[in-house]
Protein backbone atom coordinates (compact mmCIF):
# COMPACT_ATOMS: atom_id res chain seq x y z
CA UNK A 1 0.00 0.00 0.00
CA UNK A 2 2.78 2.34 0.99
CA UNK A 3 4.71 1.60 -2.20
CA UNK A 4 1.59 2.08 -4.31
CA UNK A 5 0.96 5.52 -2.80
CA UNK A 6 4.59 6.34 -3.29
CA UNK A 7 4.39 5.31 -6.95
CA UNK A 8 1.26 7.38 -7.48
CA UNK A 9 2.91 10.35 -5.88
CA UNK A 10 5.87 10.01 -8.17
CA UNK A 11 3.58 9.75 -11.17
CA UNK A 12 1.74 12.91 -10.13
CA UNK A 13 5.04 14.64 -9.62
CA UNK A 14 6.20 13.65 -13.08
CA UNK A 15 2.99 14.94 -14.59
CA UNK A 16 3.28 18.23 -12.76
CA UNK A 17 6.98 18.56 -13.64
CA UNK A 18 8.50 19.85 -16.82
CA UNK A 19 8.10 17.67 -19.89
CA UNK A 20 11.21 19.47 -21.11
CA UNK A 21 13.24 17.46 -18.62
CA UNK A 22 11.79 14.10 -19.64
CA UNK A 23 14.99 12.70 -21.06
CA UNK A 24 13.19 9.74 -22.60
CA UNK A 25 11.85 12.03 -25.33
CA UNK A 26 15.23 13.61 -26.14
CA UNK A 27 16.39 11.14 -28.80
CA UNK A 28 13.07 11.55 -30.60
CA UNK A 29 13.24 15.35 -30.57
CA UNK A 30 16.88 15.49 -31.57
CA UNK A 31 16.37 13.04 -34.42
CA UNK A 32 13.42 14.92 -35.89
CA UNK A 33 15.13 18.26 -35.34
CA UNK A 34 18.15 17.14 -37.34
CA UNK A 35 15.90 15.82 -40.12
CA UNK A 36 14.04 19.13 -40.16
CA UNK A 37 17.21 21.21 -40.22
CA UNK A 38 18.71 19.19 -43.05
CA UNK A 39 15.50 19.49 -45.09
CA UNK A 40 15.25 23.24 -44.49
CA UNK A 41 18.95 23.68 -45.27
CA UNK A 42 18.65 21.92 -48.61
CA UNK A 43 15.43 23.66 -49.55
CA UNK A 44 17.03 27.01 -48.77
CA UNK A 45 20.46 26.50 -50.28
CA UNK A 46 19.30 24.65 -53.40
CA UNK A 47 16.09 26.46 -54.28
CA UNK A 48 14.96 29.44 -52.23
CA UNK A 49 18.10 31.45 -51.56
CA UNK A 50 19.62 31.29 -55.08
CA UNK A 51 16.24 32.20 -56.53
CA UNK A 52 15.69 35.18 -54.23
CA UNK A 53 19.27 36.39 -54.69
CA UNK A 54 18.84 36.17 -58.47
CA UNK A 55 15.62 38.14 -58.27
CA UNK A 56 17.22 40.81 -56.08
CA UNK A 57 20.23 41.08 -58.38
CA UNK A 58 17.98 41.29 -61.43
CA UNK A 59 15.93 43.97 -59.76
CA UNK A 60 18.90 46.13 -58.83
CA UNK A 61 20.25 45.61 -62.36
CA UNK A 62 16.94 46.66 -63.86
CA UNK A 63 16.78 49.72 -61.64
CA UNK A 64 20.34 50.71 -62.59
CA UNK A 65 19.56 50.23 -66.28
CA UNK A 66 16.38 52.22 -66.00
CA UNK A 67 18.15 55.06 -64.24
CA UNK A 68 20.91 55.21 -66.84
CA UNK A 69 18.33 54.96 -69.63
CA UNK A 70 16.42 57.81 -68.02
CA UNK A 71 19.62 59.89 -67.87
CA UNK A 72 20.25 59.16 -71.53
CA UNK A 73 16.73 60.06 -72.49
CA UNK A 74 16.96 63.27 -70.50
CA UNK A 75 20.12 64.18 -72.40
CA UNK A 76 18.43 63.33 -75.68
CA UNK A 77 15.43 65.43 -74.78
CA UNK A 78 17.70 68.37 -74.03
CA UNK A 79 19.46 67.91 -77.35
CA UNK A 80 16.16 67.67 -79.15
CA UNK A 81 14.97 70.84 -77.46
CA UNK A 82 18.11 72.66 -78.56
CA UNK A 83 17.73 71.36 -82.09
CA UNK A 84 14.12 72.44 -82.07
CA UNK A 85 15.01 75.93 -80.92
CA UNK A 86 17.72 76.22 -83.57
CA UNK A 87 15.33 75.00 -86.26
CA UNK A 88 12.71 77.41 -85.04
CA UNK A 89 15.09 80.39 -85.24
CA UNK A 90 16.24 79.33 -88.68
CA UNK A 91 12.69 78.91 -89.88
CA UNK A 92 11.80 82.34 -88.54
CA UNK A 93 14.73 83.92 -90.36
CA UNK A 94 13.83 82.06 -93.53
CA UNK A 95 10.24 83.15 -93.29
CA UNK A 96 11.36 86.72 -92.86
CA UNK A 97 13.57 86.44 -95.93
CA UNK A 98 10.85 84.84 -98.00
CA UNK A 99 8.42 87.53 -96.97
CA UNK A 100 10.87 90.25 -97.94
CA UNK A 101 11.62 88.61 -101.26
CA UNK A 102 7.97 88.13 -102.04
CA UNK A 103 7.25 91.71 -101.11
CA UNK A 104 10.01 92.90 -103.45
CA UNK A 105 8.78 90.68 -106.28
CA UNK A 106 5.23 91.84 -105.87
CA UNK A 107 6.42 95.46 -105.83
CA UNK A 108 8.37 94.94 -109.05
CA UNK A 109 5.42 93.22 -110.71
CA UNK A 110 3.16 95.97 -109.54
CA UNK A 111 5.48 98.65 -110.89
CA UNK A 112 5.76 96.88 -114.23
CA UNK A 113 2.01 96.42 -114.43
CA UNK A 114 1.43 100.06 -113.55
CA UNK A 115 3.88 101.21 -116.21
CA UNK A 116 2.28 98.95 -118.77
CA UNK A 117 -1.17 100.11 -117.84
CA UNK A 118 -0.06 103.74 -118.05
CA UNK A 119 1.39 103.11 -121.52
CA UNK A 120 -1.76 101.33 -122.60
CA UNK A 121 -3.91 104.09 -121.22
CA UNK A 122 -1.97 106.77 -123.04
CA UNK A 123 -2.09 104.70 -126.28
CA UNK A 124 -5.81 104.23 -125.87
CA UNK A 125 -6.23 107.95 -125.20
CA UNK A 126 -4.31 108.85 -128.34
CA UNK A 127 -6.36 106.38 -130.32
CA UNK A 128 -9.54 107.78 -128.92
CA UNK A 129 -8.44 111.32 -129.73
CA UNK A 130 -7.72 110.24 -133.23
CA UNK A 131 -11.10 108.50 -133.50
CA UNK A 132 -12.81 111.60 -132.17
CA UNK A 133 -10.99 113.72 -134.76
CA UNK A 134 -12.01 111.30 -137.45
CA UNK A 135 -15.60 111.34 -136.26
CA UNK A 136 -15.50 115.13 -136.18
CA UNK A 137 -14.09 115.22 -139.72
CA UNK A 138 -16.70 112.68 -140.78
CA UNK A 139 -19.36 114.88 -139.24
CA UNK A 140 -18.10 117.93 -141.18
CA UNK A 141 -18.28 115.95 -144.42
CA UNK A 142 -21.75 114.75 -143.57
CA UNK A 143 -22.76 118.32 -142.80
CA UNK A 144 -21.38 119.30 -146.21
CA UNK A 145 -23.28 116.47 -147.90
CA UNK A 146 -26.49 117.26 -146.02
CA UNK A 147 -26.11 120.98 -146.87
CA UNK A 148 -25.46 120.16 -150.52
CA UNK A 149 -28.49 117.93 -150.70
CA UNK A 150 -30.67 120.37 -148.84
CA UNK A 151 -29.47 123.28 -151.01
CA UNK A 152 -30.16 121.29 -154.16
CA UNK A 153 -33.64 120.39 -152.97
CA UNK A 154 -34.27 123.99 -151.90
CA UNK A 155 -33.11 125.30 -155.28
CA UNK A 156 -35.28 122.76 -157.11
CA UNK A 157 -38.26 123.63 -154.91
CA UNK A 158 -37.87 127.28 -155.67
CA UNK A 159 -38.09 126.39 -159.39
CA UNK A 160 -34.59 127.05 -160.44
CA UNK A 161 -31.97 124.58 -161.40
CA UNK A 162 -28.42 124.70 -160.51
CA UNK A 163 -25.72 122.33 -161.32
CA UNK A 164 -23.98 120.45 -158.57
CA UNK A 165 -20.69 122.23 -159.02
CA UNK A 166 -22.07 125.60 -158.31
CA UNK A 167 -23.90 124.45 -155.21
CA UNK A 168 -20.85 122.66 -153.83
CA UNK A 169 -18.69 125.65 -154.38
CA UNK A 170 -21.27 127.87 -152.69
CA UNK A 171 -21.56 125.57 -149.70
CA UNK A 172 -17.83 125.21 -149.30
CA UNK A 173 -17.50 128.94 -149.43
CA UNK A 174 -20.24 129.32 -146.81
CA UNK A 175 -18.84 126.72 -144.53
CA UNK A 176 -15.42 128.25 -144.62
CA UNK A 177 -16.93 131.65 -143.95
Amino acid sequence: MATATHGAEELAKAEAGMPQLDFATFPNQIFWLLVTLVVIYFVLSKIALPRISTVLAERSGTIMNDISAAEELKLKAKEAEEAYNAALAEAKAQAQQIANETRATIQADLDAATAKADAEISAKAAESAKAIAEIRDGAMDSVKDVAKETAKELVAAMGASADARTITAAITARMKG
Binding site: Q29, L33, I47
Partner: protein, 251 residues
Amino acid sequence: MATEAHGSESSLVFHPMDQFKVTPLFGEGPVHWYTITNVTLWMAITVLAVILLLVVGSRGRAIVPSKGQSIAELAYGFVYKMIEDVTGKDAVKYFPYVMTLFIFIVFSNMLGLLPLSFTTTSHIAVTGVLAVLVFLFVTILGFVKNGSKFLALFWVSSAPMAVRPLLAVIELISYFVRPVSHSIRLAGNMMAGHAVIKVFAGFAAIAAISPVSIVAITAMYGLEVLVAFIQAYVFTILTCVYLKDALHPVH
Protein backbone atom coordinates in the same frame (compact mmCIF):
# COMPACT_ATOMS: atom_id res chain seq x y z
CA MET B 1 -5.53 6.90 -9.10
CA ALA B 2 -3.73 10.05 -10.06
CA THR B 3 -6.34 10.96 -12.63
CA GLU B 4 -9.07 10.34 -10.10
CA ALA B 5 -7.35 12.70 -7.73
CA HIS B 6 -7.26 15.35 -10.46
CA GLY B 7 -10.89 14.83 -11.37
CA SER B 8 -12.13 15.24 -7.81
CA GLU B 9 -10.36 18.58 -7.32
CA SER B 10 -12.09 21.90 -7.79
CA SER B 11 -12.57 23.42 -11.27
CA LEU B 12 -9.37 25.40 -10.80
CA VAL B 13 -6.95 22.83 -12.11
CA PHE B 14 -3.93 24.11 -13.90
CA HIS B 15 -1.97 21.98 -16.28
CA PRO B 16 0.21 24.70 -17.78
CA MET B 17 2.92 22.24 -18.68
CA ASP B 18 0.74 19.66 -20.41
CA GLN B 19 1.09 21.52 -23.70
CA PHE B 20 4.78 20.67 -23.77
CA LYS B 21 4.30 16.90 -23.52
CA VAL B 22 5.85 14.85 -26.27
CA THR B 23 3.35 12.16 -27.25
CA PRO B 24 3.20 9.65 -30.07
CA LEU B 25 0.93 10.80 -32.85
CA PHE B 26 -0.48 7.35 -33.53
CA GLY B 27 -1.47 5.14 -30.60
CA GLU B 28 0.13 4.91 -27.19
CA GLY B 29 3.42 3.62 -25.99
CA PRO B 30 6.98 4.67 -25.36
CA VAL B 31 8.58 7.41 -27.42
CA HIS B 32 11.46 5.87 -29.39
CA TRP B 33 13.87 8.03 -31.36
CA TYR B 34 12.05 7.18 -34.59
CA THR B 35 8.48 7.45 -33.26
CA ILE B 36 6.29 9.89 -35.13
CA THR B 37 5.27 12.31 -32.40
CA ASN B 38 3.72 15.74 -32.17
CA VAL B 39 7.31 17.01 -32.46
CA THR B 40 7.48 15.38 -35.89
CA LEU B 41 4.13 16.84 -36.88
CA TRP B 42 4.95 20.41 -35.93
CA MET B 43 8.43 20.29 -37.39
CA ALA B 44 6.90 19.01 -40.63
CA ILE B 45 4.44 21.90 -40.54
CA THR B 46 7.39 24.24 -39.99
CA VAL B 47 9.11 22.82 -43.06
CA LEU B 48 5.91 23.20 -45.09
CA ALA B 49 5.50 26.80 -43.93
CA VAL B 50 9.11 27.56 -44.86
CA ILE B 51 8.61 26.03 -48.31
CA LEU B 52 5.32 27.91 -48.69
CA LEU B 53 6.97 31.26 -47.95
CA LEU B 54 10.40 30.95 -49.50
CA VAL B 55 9.80 28.58 -52.41
CA VAL B 56 6.14 28.96 -53.36
CA GLY B 57 6.15 32.62 -52.40
CA SER B 58 9.11 33.44 -54.62
CA ARG B 59 8.08 31.25 -57.58
CA GLY B 60 7.01 34.29 -59.61
CA ARG B 61 10.60 35.64 -59.71
CA ALA B 62 8.96 38.96 -60.50
CA ILE B 63 10.85 42.22 -60.80
CA VAL B 64 7.84 43.79 -59.12
CA PRO B 65 7.21 41.25 -56.35
CA SER B 66 3.91 39.80 -55.18
CA LYS B 67 3.02 39.96 -51.47
CA GLY B 68 4.48 36.53 -50.74
CA GLN B 69 7.63 37.29 -52.66
CA SER B 70 8.00 40.58 -50.80
CA ILE B 71 7.92 38.80 -47.45
CA ALA B 72 10.39 36.17 -48.68
CA GLU B 73 12.72 38.92 -49.91
CA LEU B 74 12.27 40.79 -46.64
CA ALA B 75 13.28 37.68 -44.64
CA TYR B 76 16.25 37.13 -46.96
CA GLY B 77 17.36 40.75 -46.73
CA PHE B 78 16.87 40.82 -42.95
CA VAL B 79 19.20 37.90 -42.25
CA TYR B 80 21.62 38.79 -45.05
CA LYS B 81 22.05 42.32 -43.73
CA MET B 82 22.40 41.00 -40.20
CA ILE B 83 25.25 38.66 -41.07
CA GLU B 84 26.87 41.31 -43.27
CA ASP B 85 26.71 43.99 -40.59
CA VAL B 86 27.54 41.88 -37.54
CA THR B 87 29.95 39.30 -38.89
CA GLY B 88 31.35 40.98 -41.98
CA LYS B 89 31.28 40.58 -45.73
CA ASP B 90 33.57 37.53 -45.65
CA ALA B 91 30.96 35.61 -43.62
CA VAL B 92 28.33 35.83 -46.33
CA LYS B 93 29.19 32.29 -47.43
CA TYR B 94 27.77 31.00 -44.12
CA PHE B 95 24.51 32.79 -44.87
CA PRO B 96 22.54 29.60 -45.73
CA TYR B 97 23.35 28.07 -42.30
CA VAL B 98 22.35 31.20 -40.41
CA MET B 99 19.25 31.59 -42.55
CA THR B 100 18.28 27.96 -41.81
CA LEU B 101 18.57 28.59 -38.08
CA PHE B 102 16.65 31.85 -38.19
CA ILE B 103 13.86 30.63 -40.41
CA PHE B 104 13.43 27.41 -38.41
CA ILE B 105 13.27 29.23 -35.07
CA VAL B 106 11.02 32.04 -36.22
CA PHE B 107 8.57 29.66 -37.86
CA SER B 108 8.57 27.25 -34.90
CA ASN B 109 7.96 30.13 -32.50
CA MET B 110 5.16 31.60 -34.58
CA LEU B 111 3.47 28.26 -35.30
CA GLY B 112 3.73 27.47 -31.59
CA LEU B 113 1.47 30.45 -30.93
CA LEU B 114 -1.40 28.82 -32.80
CA PRO B 115 -3.98 27.45 -30.38
CA LEU B 116 -3.59 23.69 -29.69
CA SER B 117 -0.19 23.67 -31.37
CA PHE B 118 3.04 22.28 -30.02
CA THR B 119 6.04 24.58 -29.64
CA THR B 120 9.14 22.65 -30.61
CA THR B 121 11.45 25.50 -29.59
CA SER B 122 10.14 25.41 -26.04
CA HIS B 123 12.11 22.22 -25.48
CA ILE B 124 15.64 22.41 -24.20
CA ALA B 125 16.44 19.31 -26.25
CA VAL B 126 15.74 21.23 -29.46
CA THR B 127 17.32 24.57 -28.56
CA GLY B 128 20.22 22.75 -26.90
CA VAL B 129 20.99 20.89 -30.11
CA LEU B 130 20.74 24.15 -32.08
CA ALA B 131 23.10 25.89 -29.66
CA VAL B 132 25.56 22.99 -29.57
CA LEU B 133 25.57 22.88 -33.38
CA VAL B 134 26.42 26.58 -33.46
CA PHE B 135 29.05 26.14 -30.73
CA LEU B 136 30.75 23.22 -32.48
CA PHE B 137 30.58 24.88 -35.89
CA VAL B 138 32.03 28.12 -34.60
CA THR B 139 34.78 26.44 -32.55
CA ILE B 140 35.87 24.12 -35.36
CA LEU B 141 35.71 26.93 -37.89
CA GLY B 142 37.78 29.13 -35.61
CA PHE B 143 40.55 26.56 -35.32
CA VAL B 144 40.43 25.67 -39.02
CA LYS B 145 40.59 29.31 -40.12
CA ASN B 146 43.06 30.65 -37.58
CA GLY B 147 44.82 27.62 -36.11
CA SER B 148 46.26 28.28 -32.68
CA LYS B 149 45.70 32.01 -33.16
CA PHE B 150 42.08 31.30 -32.34
CA LEU B 151 43.18 31.00 -28.71
CA ALA B 152 43.97 34.73 -28.81
CA LEU B 153 40.25 35.08 -28.23
CA PHE B 154 40.91 34.09 -24.60
CA TRP B 155 44.10 36.08 -24.20
CA VAL B 156 43.10 39.69 -23.65
CA SER B 157 46.15 41.44 -25.05
CA SER B 158 44.90 44.89 -24.09
CA ALA B 159 44.89 44.03 -20.35
CA PRO B 160 47.96 44.22 -18.08
CA MET B 161 50.08 41.09 -18.16
CA ALA B 162 49.34 40.29 -14.50
CA VAL B 163 45.59 39.89 -14.93
CA ARG B 164 45.70 38.16 -18.31
CA PRO B 165 45.73 34.58 -16.96
CA LEU B 166 42.78 35.38 -14.73
CA LEU B 167 40.92 36.95 -17.64
CA ALA B 168 41.77 33.95 -19.77
CA VAL B 169 40.04 31.67 -17.26
CA ILE B 170 36.99 33.94 -17.19
CA GLU B 171 36.92 34.15 -20.99
CA LEU B 172 37.22 30.39 -21.24
CA ILE B 173 34.33 29.85 -18.84
CA SER B 174 32.19 32.42 -20.63
CA TYR B 175 33.00 30.74 -23.93
CA PHE B 176 31.78 27.37 -22.70
CA VAL B 177 28.71 28.88 -21.07
CA ARG B 178 27.68 30.30 -24.44
CA PRO B 179 25.72 27.27 -25.66
CA VAL B 180 23.95 26.99 -22.32
CA SER B 181 22.75 30.60 -22.27
CA HIS B 182 22.12 30.47 -26.00
CA SER B 183 19.74 27.52 -25.68
CA ILE B 184 18.08 28.24 -22.33
CA ARG B 185 17.29 31.82 -23.37
CA LEU B 186 15.19 30.64 -26.28
CA ALA B 187 13.55 27.61 -24.64
CA GLY B 188 12.89 29.50 -21.42
CA ASN B 189 11.26 32.42 -23.17
CA MET B 190 9.01 30.22 -25.23
CA MET B 191 8.06 27.94 -22.34
CA ALA B 192 7.39 30.74 -19.87
CA GLY B 193 5.12 32.68 -22.20
CA HIS B 194 3.06 29.65 -23.15
CA ALA B 195 2.80 28.53 -19.54
CA VAL B 196 1.65 31.98 -18.40
CA ILE B 197 -1.03 32.09 -21.11
CA LYS B 198 -2.20 28.64 -19.97
CA VAL B 199 -2.39 29.79 -16.33
CA PHE B 200 -4.48 32.81 -17.34
CA ALA B 201 -6.68 30.45 -19.36
CA GLY B 202 -7.15 28.34 -16.22
CA PHE B 203 -8.48 31.36 -14.36
CA ALA B 204 -11.11 31.84 -17.07
CA ALA B 205 -13.06 28.98 -15.44
CA ILE B 206 -14.16 31.41 -12.74
CA ALA B 207 -16.94 33.52 -14.25
CA ALA B 208 -16.12 36.68 -12.29
CA ILE B 209 -12.49 36.67 -13.38
CA SER B 210 -12.94 35.44 -16.92
CA PRO B 211 -13.15 38.89 -18.60
CA VAL B 212 -9.91 39.90 -16.89
CA SER B 213 -8.47 36.57 -17.87
CA ILE B 214 -9.39 37.06 -21.51
CA VAL B 215 -7.88 40.54 -21.58
CA ALA B 216 -4.74 39.20 -19.93
CA ILE B 217 -4.49 36.34 -22.44
CA THR B 218 -4.89 38.79 -25.32
CA ALA B 219 -2.19 41.06 -23.93
CA MET B 220 0.13 38.12 -23.26
CA TYR B 221 -0.49 36.81 -26.75
CA GLY B 222 0.56 40.13 -28.25
CA LEU B 223 3.67 40.10 -26.12
CA GLU B 224 4.39 36.51 -27.11
CA VAL B 225 4.19 37.36 -30.82
CA LEU B 226 6.83 39.97 -30.16
CA VAL B 227 8.90 37.57 -28.06
CA ALA B 228 8.63 34.85 -30.70
CA PHE B 229 10.23 37.12 -33.26
CA ILE B 230 12.72 38.77 -30.93
CA GLN B 231 14.03 35.47 -29.60
CA ALA B 232 14.59 34.19 -33.12
CA TYR B 233 16.38 37.45 -33.87
CA VAL B 234 18.48 37.24 -30.69
CA PHE B 235 19.45 33.64 -31.38
CA THR B 236 20.50 34.53 -34.91
CA ILE B 237 22.40 37.67 -34.04
CA LEU B 238 24.28 35.83 -31.27
CA THR B 239 25.17 33.18 -33.83
CA CYS B 240 26.54 35.96 -36.03
CA VAL B 241 28.54 37.37 -33.11
CA TYR B 242 30.04 33.95 -32.33
CA LEU B 243 30.80 33.51 -36.01
CA LYS B 244 32.62 36.82 -35.99
CA ASP B 245 34.74 35.63 -33.06
CA ALA B 246 35.65 32.54 -35.05
CA LEU B 247 36.60 34.47 -38.18
CA HIS B 248 38.33 37.40 -36.47
CA PRO B 249 39.48 36.23 -33.03
CA VAL B 250 41.07 39.53 -32.06
CA HIS B 251 40.22 40.65 -28.62
